[in-house]
Amino acid sequence: MTHPVSVRDELLRFLAQQGIELPCESPDATPLFETGQLDSQALFNLVLWAEERIGEPIDPTALDLTRDWATVSDIVRFVGARDRRRG
């Protein structure tokens, strides 16, 4: 029996593709911006990834990125909330 891929797993796979290395023991809670690994190109790709997930454009200037997208958990929560809002 196969399970659908969760948003979290998809995001972790996406970040790995971007060359962002997260510690195996706590990938969900690792601060993404503090290490500087998430540079502007990777962040741009991440915005596109999130837009594809929720099906609408994201205005990053309306967010506090360092707080709202601080960790993998925060991004999963953000995408989940937008998904639910769209119904």
């Binding site: 500087g36 540079d39 190109q41 990053p60 200037t61």
Partner: protein, 385 residues
Amino acid sequence: MSGTCEIVRFGPEHREAVAELQTLLWSPDPILNLRYLDWKYVQNPWAEQPRIYLAVHGGTVVGMRGFCESRWEVGSPARVVAIPLADDLAIRAEERNSGLVTQIMRAAFADLADSGSDFVLSLSASLLTLLGSLSLGFRSAGAYDPVVRREPSALRRLRLREQLARSPRVRRWARSPLIVRSQVLFRSPLAFSAAERQPFRRLDSARIAGDDLTIAREPRPVAMAELVSALGHDGRLRHVRSPEYLAWRFANPLREYRFLYSGGEPLDGYLVLGSRVAGAYPSPRVSIVDLEARDARTRRALLAAAAEGHFADLFAWSATIAPSDRPALGELGFEPADPTRAARGGPCALVRSLAARRPEEWMLESRSLLDPASWDLRMLYSIGD
């Protein structure tokens, strides 16, 4: 690799290295880049020691961010404050995606705070730089809502170029360093029409634009500053427009300007048009850099004269034009320049506090720096017009 980079402050010994690095951003010509560097960071009326932060790896400059001196007036009576303008971010391709931008910016923020600055601004960020800036704690101070007026023939050319650009073979060819450096594209009549390569040709041949308007190649800094002063100040944040600043500002070696004047001495109004002289890639764009006039009728006449220049691509930031004048933009054929990017919040002015303050406390003279209504922004102030 950035772990082994050292962040240092610019000194005269770095001039050539910066000019070479900035072939990524300013122009393909290092000699022209040296002139731009000196103009922007040495000849700037408020410059002391250039605030450029360099990432150096094994003795080679591999990245930089500059902070251009600027002076702003705010409140009534106006208080003048210094706010550095973040600009000129360039990182060598092999050093990207490595945390180097964060390393440079953290060093810059600490040094700027030590030297007494409270805030930094970024007025001309590309989408990538915008995202990087947001991740470093910048916040939007308001979108510019860019609009463009395109001649129908230019629109057809643009669509053809876009079609060609989608072809992988053409894209590879057009972006090859040999083609870019030798400016083959820029010279090719197939790629750009004469009007696009020399956007001011038609305007220059007109000389008199009618309705008491004149066209000039030279700025009139004293008369322009007198007009700005005579019109008064509503207390919003705006850049100081002194004769010294205006004379320096329009000496930008990477730009060419034309000035539409209304009236004689004193002036009733002026409109400044700017166009890129030499960029990493050619652009036929002409921008409305600044507009001032004693009344709405004169402002409208100046905008109409600019539209009559029949530029392939006449660009403006509608949010920086007085609300009462914005309907005139639509009547003159301007339309939103990039709705896709507008939906993503840009382009916009960015601000960041250098001290640990909550965003609600980012204030000057009781005005919130995050409220677009606090600002009288103009493309003039962004340097990269």
